[in-house]
Structures are given as structure tokens and as C-alpha cells.
């Protein structure tokens, strides 16, 4: 078995038993990263940095003083600012921007012994569901449909992270999730993606998209790895006023615990008209697995669900329009000169932002404008409160909620590109979770008829990632998902 096929837990144990060194592991991942270049997952490769960190890990391992993540090679979504390493958010407007600071979440990972392989691709400013809006071109999904070699999207916005982990070019990756950007690409690429409770991980040093929804989380091969990564990434940060001053439990302990007696909510509003039958069937299998493991299911009502996408597409662009005002050509990044200050703004932002970002900035500006604020932004905030209340009510009768992650499997690059609404529908099951600030995890649960991975989502109560992980681990065990993406099968 190649080193790259091991999980974090396995790698950790074998490193400690000195079966191989962190350097050997890093070299294997650097080779895999190079081999995966056709997928365009990595924007920046930092092999020297990885090897330098591996040497330090080896020194600690040698002395049996290993840190929790010593030697674990990680891909970092290019939305996290990394000190001394170019950070662009997939945008032309941040081309050449090298932050003089390290984001709290990545700093936490390095402090725990993990090492950075490089920065991975994303939708520009994390706005998208397919990793096709990046200024550096699209990332490919390592999976292919049976008998069809057309490249597929890895989902998004954390598509580079999902693709890199799926193709074993990273042992784990950081992602961010504003409306599904961790869970949907995890589902499309057959890996685990965990969006923690809002406030669990610091947002400090992460390029902001929509501040009240953005949350960092891990993307990994299995549920246990997600628990291990989250423990290292999470924690209260005084530099982020919205990060929660709550203790960080040992999430790994939850993995493998029985779910006997747990009540699993099944939201009736998530049965969409026109949803592929195989998604419905997968969902039913998930229900059966959990029931077989001793849980009971209860039908719940999340009645505001039909309004969630519309609410999200008002609040997220509103915040984004303001968050992205700082990219003005004055202090960093791209500047396209003009005769006047206004002309310089127009030139810089017109050429620096791609079409999807411009669309959302315009929507956001519109919904905050005098005369429209009450009808759009304020109304959306009220609906958001009601959506959160739906979940509060539901959690009075259940301990976790089971849903599909996305309404479809991965689609071809180029599909849905001319129809933003169809693209936005990708996030129909994930968006409500962000609006309510809850934890959600996507677990690979099966394959579509044409051989593509499909994920199931577990939604937990606020700051109850432990129950969420517990349920996810049972699904994972029952699903026994062992399929391998075409790119990896071909390379192996």
C-alpha cells in the first residue's frame, strides 16, 4: 500500500512506530502533487517548505515528542492568508499578493505539526459551486463518468481542496464553507467535508466572502481524520470577535461511539420535485443504515426551506459587496491606472474581478441600497431568523438531521455555466445550515448510476460536532465506500 493511501490516523501511528519518516511521507506527497498537475488543483506548490517542516517533525518523532499532526501534509485553500506565500483567493485582483501574516487556522495546523504542500484552487473569492470561476482556470474532478472521459467539476468553492485530497495529492485540506463550499465538493469528489458551527474556527486571516456565514473546516479521507483536523484547527481567537469562547473537545473520541437511541430527523421539505431518484434512494439507504445501527428516525419540518436559497443570495452578496470594497487598487494587489480616482476604481475592479464576483457585488449593492434595504436585506435577515428557529424547533425532537448533500453528482465542466440559478441550486441542502450557523458534514455514501460519488449530509446542533461526527462515522462504516477516482486508478 502506498504511503499516500493512508489516513491521518494511520499515518500518525506508523510515523510514531517509525515505519517511515515524515520526510519520506512528504516526498511521496510532493510526487503525487506533481503528478496531479493536470487537474489544476494546486495554484502554488511549496515543496521546500514542506520538506523543512518534515525535518522538524522527524526531529520530534525521533525524540518521541511528536505533536498531534506531525508530518501530516496539508493542502491549503487559497482563501487562507499564508505568510510569505502568495494568496490570491483565485482572483486577478489579488495577483501577486503575499500576506505578511498567517491565518489563525493554518497557524494552528502548523503549530500542531502539520506541513503545507501548497495553496489550492477555488472559485474566485469562494463564489461558486464548481471551481470554474477562478482566475487561474478550472480545477478538474479526478473522477470520470463510466465510459465518458469528459472532465467534470470537483464542486466548489473548495474544489481544489477536494480534488487534491481525493487524488491523494494531500492527506487533508482546509476548506471554507459559506453556503456549502466544503460539503458539496466533498460529495462530488468522494471525500469527507466538515463545516463546523459558526464561530468554532477563527475567521482571522481568511479572505472574507460573507462574514456572517463563512466558516473554515477540514476536508479529509474519512470521518476520523475530519475529527483530528478539526481539533487542531478550532479554538477561540481574540482576534475574531465572532469566534466562540467555548472549549474544544477531543472530537476523535466521538468517532466509533454507538448511536443507539439517537433520534435522527428527516426533513420532509428536502424531498424536492424533480430530484434524481438515485439521490432519494441514497437518502433512504442512509436512513436504513442509521436505523440498523439502533437510531430512530423522526420526520421533521423545516418549513422555511423553500426560502433559504433566496435568503442566502441576498445576505451573502450584501456582505460580499461590502467585504470586497477594499480591493480598490490603492494599497495592494492589482491597480489599473485611470485619469481620476473613480476611473482607477472602475478599471481595477472591472478588470480585476471575474463575472460571477461582479454579479454578486452588483446584487449585494442593490439589496443594500436606499429604498431596497427593507424589501430585500432586512426581509432576508428576518427569514434567516425563522430558518434558525425551524432548526431549533426540530432539534427539540431529534439529535441530528440526515439529508443528501447535493441534489446531483458532479457535472461536466461547462455545464450550467450560462445559468446562474441552476448553479445556485447545487447548494439547496447546504445553505440552510450556514444560515443557521450549524455544523454539517458530508460523507461519501455511494455511487451514482454512472459511477460518480454521492454524499449524505449530517447536520448537528450548534457546537455539537461530536454527535454529528458520531452519526457520520456510522454512515461511513455502513456505506463502506471504497471506490477510487479514475485519475488515481489510472496513475496507480
Amino acid at each position: 500500500m502506498s504511503l499516500n493511501a493512508l489516513t491521518i490516523a494511520e499515518t500518525r501511528d506508523r510515523l510514531r512506530r517509525k515505519e517511515f519518516t515524515a520526510r519520506e511521507l512528504a516526498e511521496a506527497y510532493i510526487r503525487a502533487m506533481e503528478a496531479a498537475r493536470p487537474l489544476n488543483a494546486y495554484l502554488v506548490e511549496t515543496p521546500e517548505r514542506a520538506l523543512a517542516a518534515a525535518a522538524q517533525s522527524d526531529a520530534r518523532l525521533q525524540k518521541d515528542e511528536a505533536l498531534p499532526l506531525d508530518g501530516v501534509p496539508v493542502a491549503v485553500k487559497d482563501l487562507f492568508c499564508t505568510e510569505g506565500v502568495e494568496t490570491t483567493a483565485g482572483s486577478r485582483i489579488l495577483g501577486g499578493f503575499v500576506p505578511p501574516y498567517e491565518s489563525t487556522v493554518t497557524a494552528n495546523l502548523w503549530r500542531n505539526g502539520a506541513l503545507m504542500l501548497g495553496k489550492v484552487n477555488l472559485d474566485e473569492f469562494a463564489m461558486g459551486s464548481a471551481t470554474i470561476t477562478s482566475a487561474r482556470g478550472p480545477t478538474e474532478n479526478p473522477w470520470r463518468r463510466k465510459g465518458d472521459n469528459r472532465p467534470l467539476v470537483p464542486g466548489g468553492s473548495s474544489g481544489g481542496s477536494a480534488s487534491a485530497v481525493a487524488v491523494h495529492a494531500a492527506l487533508a485540506a482546509t476548506g471554507t464553507d459559506t453556503g456549502g463550499s466544503i460539503r458539496q465538493p466533498a460529495s462530488f469528489c468522494g471525500i469527507v467535508g466538515l463545516k463546523p458551527t459558526y464561530g468554532r474556527c477563527s475567521r482571522w486571516g481568511i479572505v472574507a466572502f460573507a462574514s456572517s456565514l463563512d466558516q473554515a473546516g477540514p476536508m479529509t479521507r474519512d470521518v476520523r481524520d475530519a475529527a483530528i483536523m478539526l481539533k487542531a484547527m478550532a479554538g477561540h481567537d481574540p482576534k475574531d470577535s465572532t469566534s466562540a469562547p467555548v472549549p474544544v473537545p477531543d472530537f476523535e473520541k466521538a468517532v466509533g461511539q454507538s448511536i443507539k437511541g439517537l433520534r435522527i430527523g428527516i426533513p420532509k421539505e428536502y424531498r424536492l420535485d424533480g430530484m434524481p431518484k438515485e439521490i432519494d434512494a441514497l437518502w433512504q439507504r442512509g436512513i436504513d443504515w442509521l436505523t440498523a445501527a439502533g437510531a430512530t428516525t423522526v420526520v421533521i419540518s423545516l418549513k422555511m426551506t423553500p426560502y433559504a436559497l433566496a435568503t442566502y443570495y441576498i445576505i451573502a452578496p450584501a456582505e460580499a459587496s461590502s467585504n470586497l470594497a477594499r480591493y480598490d487598487g490603492v494599497r495592494f494587489g492589482l491597480r489599473v491606472p485611470g485619469e481620476t480616482l473613480d476611473e482607477m476604481y472602475e478599471n481595477t475592479r472591472g478588470q480585476g474581478f471575474g463575472a460571477e464576483v461582479r454579479r454578486r457585488v452588483l446584487i449585494g449593492t442593490y439589496v443594500l441600497s436606499a429604498g431596497y434595504y427593507d424589501a430585500y436585506y432586512l426581509k432576508a435577515q428576518k427569514v434567516r431568523t425563522l430558518i434558525a428557529r425551524d432548526f431549533d424547533e426540530a432539534f427539540k425532537t431529534c439529535d441530528a438531521i440526515l439529508t443528501p448533500t447535493a441534489p446531483s453528482a458532479a457535472f461536466a465542466i461547462g455545464d450550467k455555466m450560462d445559468d446562474p440559478i441552476a448553479m445556485y441550486l447545487n447548494d439547496v441542502f447546504t445553505v440552510p445550515v450556514n444560515l443557521a450557523g450549524l455544523p454539517g458534514i458530508s460523507v461519501p455514501a455511494g455511487l451514482s448510476a454512472d459511477g460518480l460519488p454521492l454524499g449524505l449530509q449530517v447536520i448537528g446542533k450548534a457546537f455539537d460536532e461530536e454527535t454529528t461526527l458520531r452519526v457520520a462515522a456510522v454512515l461511513e462504516d455502513a456505506a463502506g465506500f471504497e471506490a477510487v477516482p479514475a485519475f488515481l486508478a489510472g496513475a496507480a
Binding site: 487562507f80 492568508c81 494568496t87 483567493a89 489579488l94 499578493f97 500576506p99 505578511p100 501574516y101 491565518s103 475567521r203 482571522w204 486571516g205 481568511i206 479572505v207 472574507a208 460573507a210 462574514s211 456572517s212 481574540p238 482576534k239 475574531d240 470577535s241 465572532t242 450584501a318 456582505e319 459587496s321 461590502s322 470586497l324 470594497a325 477594499r326 480598490d328 490603492v330 494599497r331 495592494f332 480616482l341 473613480d342 476604481y345 449593492t365 443594500l368 441600497s369 436606499a370 434595504y373 436585506y377
Partner: protein
């Protein structure tokens, strides 16, 4: 005080509301740890938060909140235990984030008031609408290069309190009095240096005119006026301009105007149609600001004595009403004079218990009862605060560009007050003695002795001088006696000259009249 302005069509009432931006005294900025010192090299006090680098987040500086709440309490205002920070969005080169963090719908401080002490001795209450916290912007420097603008972000993110008054002011004089009173309160509280020249107190004036008692007129806002004098000039000009527009049959256009201090005029900057849509919304990077009621009460109890209370106390201990307002305007000056009063009490030859009671009375006259004789001892100790002494000390401080409080503390003002009370010196000698004390550091009595400045109250000496003069000026004496009584002043002058100004003027007058009467 009549505040009406005369136009061709009769009298007009001027309606003024002021928005003051007061820079909070704080070592660090409102949402970052960067320093706030005035006059530092450009762009040396800028954190990545202030420069709005990607991923940077604001963290509220609790001390700035404390300062704002203190100010609110000092303005006798409601403190809102729940308030919200909003983003005010607009693009400008010196606004790094593209938005200013401010408070829009839910400010930290609500309704309050300021009492104006007007020159005619009356007082008027002016409503405060609100006070909120917000960030300052940076500075655009347009004069450094022929075609480029430079940006200095040292000021970007510094905490400001925006203090908004009700449209209660009715004249430029009242606006001036309001700003002086507000400045005084802010300095007493130590929440703002309130130095308009350094730009840490800036004022926007909303001005409209109406027929007395009529409906409010359309207002114009005059932005960023940077001295009290200019505020008064700008309002005078703007009111006149609006009256002229209306009387010529036109209508005032709601707009933002700038004051040109060189020409003394206001000029249109942008009309309402061109005004920004700031797209306010709650800043999602910050939680709502929640204050603990007990903490607010603790702050309230820790407030220093404010000008209004100090004024009442000074009046109660015998400070003259003529001078009390200028005495209390600066806290340090008031403290220095108060120490002089206490010093004189201790020199009154009272018993230790009496001195203690008297000093306690000075500190809280409403808490202490004194015997009539002790009360007299106290009130007679406020001599150093006679208007003659205070005015001359202030004049000397101005002439020497010396800090008033420092000067008060290093001069022997209680000694001087004592000499004046005992009529050893006349009022006209005070300035000379004050100047001499400022130069030589000697006490008042020494100077009087050395210079022979003692006022002559010896009737014999004065009579001798009068006799000599009347003998010399027999022609004028005859004229006087023939009815030209105006000559009395001439004779007084001659006597004063002959006695080198030391004669007691009242005595000279009295004796002269007697002698001239024959």
C-alpha cells in the same frame, strides 16, 4: 438674548444644529492596536487592520467604549445598554476598507443635554440627540505632487465620538457657546483633547432660517469647520445668504457646503441628489455591543466634578458671578484657583478644626454647615479670584504664551488677593505686580515693598499733594469754581501723577471735592 436677524421683509430666526466629531483620548485605535499619537511620520501608525488587508478583522477597544459612555454620562444622556456597529459604505482613497465602521440606528448614547451660560448671564438648555462611536478615515494629501495624491493612514481607524445636537441653537453666539461648553466638558472628563487646530474636534453645522415661530426651513450642512471662530463666521454668513435667497424670491436648496475661511463665505459642495447612498448595514464582523448596567453606574460614580457643578460650588464659596464662567472653563485653572482659596483659608489664623471644616466646606458646600464667622472667613478667602486678578493673570498668560493653570500655580495670588482686600494696593497696580511676580518669582508683598507700590491712604500726604497742585493751578481752580466741574478729572490725574499712582483714588476724589468746594 435676541437672536433674530433683520432682513428686508422683517425678522428671521436662525435654526442651528451641530454635529461634532470628537477624537477619543485613547492610546490605541477603535478596532486595532495601532497607536494614535498626533504628528507622527505618515503611515507609521498603521496596522494591517487599519489598512484593511484581506482577512483582517476589527476587535473593539473597550477603553474607547468607556470613554464614550463617560462622555454620555457627562452630557446627562441615556446610555444604551445594547448598541450596534454598522458599516457605512463609500469609496475613497483614504478609506481603506471601503466602509467606515460607525453606529447608525442604535448608537451607544441617546438623548442628553448641555446647559449654555450665555454672556448676558442667562442659561439655556440645548438638547443632545445622540452620541455614537465611529472610525476616522485617513488623510488624502493632494499637495505633495502635481498629479498624484498621497494617502496617510495614521488617522485611519482612530476612534471618534460623533455628538449630534438638536436644532436648538438660535445664533452664531449660541453655537460658539455650545462648542466652548462641550469642549470644557470633554476636557473635564478627559475623553477628548478638544483641540480644533489639531483636528481632534471638528464641527459640521446644519443651518436653516425661518420666520419666527414658523415651520422649519430647508437646511444646509456646512462640513468640517475647524475653529469656533470659523463656525460662528460660517453660520453668520450662511444665515444671511439663505435670507437673501428667500427674500429675492428663491428657495434654499438642501445641500452640503464648505466654509472658505480665507474669504469668509460658504460654497456648495454637493446637492442632495449627488449625496452618497451609504448602504448602512450591521457589521457582521462585530457582535452587538452589550453594556452591563452596574458597570455604567460605576462609571457614573467615578465621573469628575463637571463645569456646571463646579460653577454652583464656586458661587457658594464666594466666587463672583462675574468671573465664575471663565474660571471654570478649564479644569486645571479652576483647580489652581481653588488651591489658592484653600491656601488663604489656612492663612486666616483659624484653629486646626476650623480650617478643616472650612476646607471641607469649600469641597462640598452643600454637605457642610458653617458658623456665620467661619463662612465669612471662607468667602473672604476667594479674593484671589477677584475679576481684576483673574483677568490680569489671564492677560499676562496670553501675552507670555504661558499655560494659565501653570501661571496661577506659580504666582502668589493669595498674597496678592490679600493686599487687594486690605486696600494696600489699588486695582490698577495688579497688572504690574502680576507681571513682576511672573518675571521674578517673588511674592506679592515683597514686590509691593520693593517697588514702593503701597497705596497711599494717609490723608495728610494726599492733602499735601492736593494743596500743592491747587496752589500751582489757581487759574483752573477758578474755572472749576465758576462751574466747569469737568475739571475734577484733571485734578485727580494731577494728584495721582504727583503720588506716582499710589494714592487711593477714592480718597483723592473725596478730598479734592472738599478742597475745591473751598
Amino acid at each position: 438674548m435676541s437672536a433674530l436677524v433683520k432682513g428686508h421683509t422683517g425678522e428671521w430666526e436662525v435654526v442651528i444644529g451641530l454635529e461634532v466629531h470628537a477624537q477619543v483620548i485613547s492610546k490605541a485605535k477603535l478596532f486595532s492596536g495601532a497607536a494614535t499619537d498626533f504628528g507622527a511620520e505618515p503611515n507609521t501608525q498603521v496596522s494591517t487592520v487599519d489598512a484593511a488587508f484581506p482577512g483582517m478583522l476589527p476587535v473593539l477597544n473597550g477603553f474607547c467604549v468607556e470613554q464614550a459612555v463617560k462622555t454620555g454620562l457627562g452630557l446627562d444622556a441615556e446610555i444604551n445598554l445594547q448598541s450596534v456597529f454598522d458599516r457605512k459604505n463609500y469609496f475613497y482613497a483614504d478609506l481603506p476598507a471601503g466602509y467606515q465602521i460607525s453606529q447608525f440606528s442604535r448608537p451607544v448614547v441617546g438623548r442628553g443635554k448641555i446647559v449654555l451660560d450665555l454672556p448676558d448671564g442667562t442659561a439655556r438648555e440645548i438638547g443632545i440627540t445622540r452620541l455614537h462611536l465611529e472610525q476616522d478615515a485617513g488623510k488624502s494629501l493632494h499637495d505633495q505632487h502635481p498629479s498624484k495624491t498621497y494617502v496617510d493612514l495614521n488617522r485611519a481607524g482612530v476612534a471618534l465620538m460623533e455628538i449630534v445636537s438638536e436644532p436648538d441653537l438660535r445664533s452664531a453666539e449660541e453655537a460658539g457657546a455650545y462648542l466652548r461648553k462641550l469642549r470644557s466638558i470633554l476636557r473635564y472628563l478627559g475623553t477628548c483633547d478638544a483641540n480644533m487646530e489639531e483636528g481632534n474636534l471638528r464641527c459640521d453645522c446644519n443651518v436653516s432660517v425661518r420666520k419666527p415661530g414658523g415651520a422649519l426651513g430647508t437646511r444646509c450642512e456646512i462640513k468640517n469647520v475647524n475653529s469656533i471662530r470659523f463656525v460662528m463666521q460660517a453660520i453668520e454668513y450662511e444665515a444671511r445668504r439663505q435670507i437673501e435667497v428667500i427674500e429675492k424670491g428663491g428657495a434654499v436648496v438642501q445641500e452640503t457646503r464648505l466654509f472658505d475661511s480665507g474669504k469668509g463665505v460658504t460654497r456648495s459642495m454637493r446637492t442632495k441628489e449627488e449625496s452618497h447612498d451609504y448602504r448602512y448595514f450591521p457589521d457582521p464582523d462585530l457582535l452587538p455591543l452589550t453594556l452591563d448596567a452596574a458597570w455604567v453606574e460605576k462609571l457614573r460614580k467615578s465621573l469628575p466634578e463637571l463645569p456646571d457643578a463646579k460653577k454652583q460650588r464656586f458661587l457658594a464659596i464666594g466666587v463672583s458671578g462675574n468671573i465664575v464662567n471663565s474660571l471654570i472653563e478649564e479644569r486645571e485653572v479652576a483647580d489652581a484657583f481653588e488651591d489658592e482659596i484653600k491656601k488663604r483659608i489656612s492663612q486666616k489664623g483659624l484653629s486646626p478644626e476650623e480650617t478643616k471644616s472650612a476646607v471641607e466646606f469649600v469641597q462640598s458646600p452643600d454637605q457642610r454647615q458653617l458658623s456665620p464667622s467661619l463662612l465669612t472667613a471662607v468667602t473672604s478667602s476667594s479674593g484671589a479670584t477677584s475679576s481684576t486678578i483673574v483677568n490680569f493673570v489671564f492677560a499676562v498668560a496670553n501675552a507670555r504664551k504661558e499655560d494659565r493653570a501653570t501661571l496661577v500655580r506659580r504666582l502668589d495670588l493669595s498674597g496678592l488677593g490679600d493686599l487687594q482686600d486690605r486696600k494696600v494696593i489699588s486695582g490698577r497696580m495688579v497688572r504690574e505686580i502680576v507681571e513682576e511676580m511672573a518675571d521674578t518669582k517673588k511674592d506679592a508683598a515683597t514686590i509691593v515693598a520693593e517697588k514702593g507700590l503701597k497705596q497711599v491712604t494717609d490723608t495728610g500726604a494726599i492733602e499735601a499733594a492736593i494743596d500743592a497742585i491747587l496752589a500751582r493751578e489757581s487759574a483752573k481752580v477758578a474755572e472749576y469754581r465758576a462751574g466747569k466741574e469737568k475739571l475734577l478729572a484733571y485734578f485727580v490725574g494731577q494728584v495721582m501723577k504727583a503720588t506716582q499712582g499710589k494714592a487711593n483714588p477714592a480718597l483723592v476724589n473725596e478730598l479734592l471735592k472738599k478742597k475745591l468746594a473751598g
